[in-house]
Amino acid sequence: MKVIVPVKRVIDYNVKVRVKADGTGVDLANVKMSMNPFDEIAVEEAIRLKEAGVVEEIVAVSIGVKQAQETLRTALAMGADRAILIVATDDVHQDLEPLAVAKLLKAVVDEEAPQMVICGKQAIDNDMNATGQMLSALLGWSQATFASEVKVEGDSAQVTREVDGGLQTISVKLPAVVSVDLRLNEPRYASLPNIMKAKKKPLEEKTPADYGVDVSPRLTVVSTAEPATRSAGVKVADVAELVAKLKDEAGVL
């Protein structure tokens, strides 16, 4: 079967994010960008399913600025077979909303007819945790979010999900959308030969207009502000002082 893996180009998780002085957003000029960490896990899972003989073809899809082709090259170097880039903006500061992303992904799915879409649970920039669920709804497919284990069995998949009280296992009919959580696997690094090979893999470029999808935002960003900061308190010398402070000063014991 065929699998589609949506991968998002986001600020690297190690970068200290700074809010722009004029409150219009965060500063993304000249900062290190990477593949969303959850999407690396999604790519890895697709590759493992391919290695297990369950999956024949992996198509990585990214939506955003032209530079997202680097993210797609990373997916190809890890082991995806081909890639589709939908250039939706030329402004690195413009983030497409999950609803628009889901509509574009639906259009790709309609063309590609995969049996599964494996995406990240959450993009670490907008922290929305929405695209997979939205795509599944638009397609009328089953959904399995926050996956920590995926087993494909015939025309269904058994997925273990990370939920608030522990773990839940469900069985979803294929085709399905699966969103992955942190414990699903440990993504591989692309080897140098594979990075070279990835340069020759097909990467198709499209625009939202090619799919006839309206990507205008539904939410207007009114402002972006620094969070309230917390200043460092005091160092205590020992446990006795700590207990005394918690009792007498903070009043929490």
Partner: protein, 308 residues
């Protein structure tokens, strides 16, 4: 304006704390109807009706709603949506599973993890692991919102709203429940506990994690963990605190053997008092701790337990 609040359930029982906290946010948006959809939920519906400020409880009891599967629940919520300006759920695993699906079916953009309600269209939410707070205004006809419970006080009980039984909606029959692995515990729940004791990679092993748990028990606290501790198998996944785990804001948060990565801070920096125990005096956690103790946790934690 009228609001449909999706009650949080846990094994058929009302998850009172999450529901009551989300209710406080929902009340800022209008008149609140609570939807209790599950299996064997008569008590849950009756309890939801006692929450102060609830106008009505809609009760849908059917086997298809028994395990929180997103597709049948979303179909039910969408069938009710016409009557409401806002559809609200707590930003729990269940709420996050459901709300975006509902939003997409209504062709509206979901607004996730809201920490503040400005007005009926305008909401505050953290982005970039809480490194920035964004205020967004929605132009959609129906607003679908998840509320971060740590930012809202629980609404009290004392009300007596009518409970109306409603029929189940069509079942899309796309997925089925297999099993739950739920840890039974007498400890308070992580997201509602007054005190949380969390352990990190520094704790070193699953066996050593008993040290963290026993300190928590002495304090009547819930136990949390960093991602590193969970990934290493010292603690179960549902103890993870942080950007992609649970968000907590207790009176007292004690971080033991946790370095203080931004992704961890995202889940606990709104705690009232933060204590850090770490042997590295340069650990970033000390930059936000009210009380920092530079010590080996294997000395400090037993001593602390002793001193309490």
């Amino acid at each position: 304006m009228s609001v449909l609040l999706i009650a949080e359930l846990s094994g058929g029982a009302l998850a009172l704390d999450a529901t009551a906290k989300a209710l406080t946010g929902a009340k800022q948006l209008g008149d609140v109807t609570v939807l209790v959809a599950g299996e064997g939920t008569d008590d849950a519906a009756a309890e939801a009706a006692t929450l102060d400020g609830v106008s009505k409880v809609l009760h849908a009891d059917a086997a298809i709603y028994g395990h929180g599967l997103a597709e049948p629940l979303a179909a039910l919520v969408v069938s009710l949506a016409g009557d409401y300006s806002h559809i609200v759920a707590p930003a729990t695993a269940a709420g996050k599973n459901l709300a975006p699906r509902v939003a997409a079916l209504l062709d509206v953009m979901v607004i996730s993890d809201v920490t503040g309600v400005v007005d009926g269209d305008t909401f505050e939410r953290p982005i970039y692991a809480g490194n920035a707070i964004q205020t967004v205004k929605s132009a959609d006809a129906t607003k679908v919102v998840t509320l971060r419970t740590a930012n809202f006080d629980a609404a009290p009980t004392g009300g007596s709203a009518p409970v109306e039984t409603i029929a189940a909606a069509d079942d899309p029959a796309l997925s089925s429940f297999v099993e739950d692995k739920v840890q039974e515990s007498d400890r308070p729940e992580l997201t509602s506990a007054k005190i949380v004791v969390s352990g990190g990679r520094g704790v070193g092993s699953e066996e050593n994690f008993a040290l963290i748990e026993s300190l928590a028990d002495t304090l009547g606290a819930a136990v949390g963990a960093s991602r590193a501790a969970v990934d290493s198998g010292y603690a179960p996944n549902d103890w993870q605190v942080g950007q992609t785990g649970k968000v907590v804001a207790p009176e007292l948060y004690i971080a033991v053997g946790i370095s203080g990565a931004i992704q961890h801070l995202a889940g606990m920096k709104d705690s009232k008092v933060i204590v850090a125990i770490n042997k590295d005096e340069e650990a970033p956690i000390f930059q936000i701790a009210d009380y920092g103790l530079v010590a080996d946790l294997f000395d400090a934690v037993p001593a602390l337990k002793e001193a309490l």
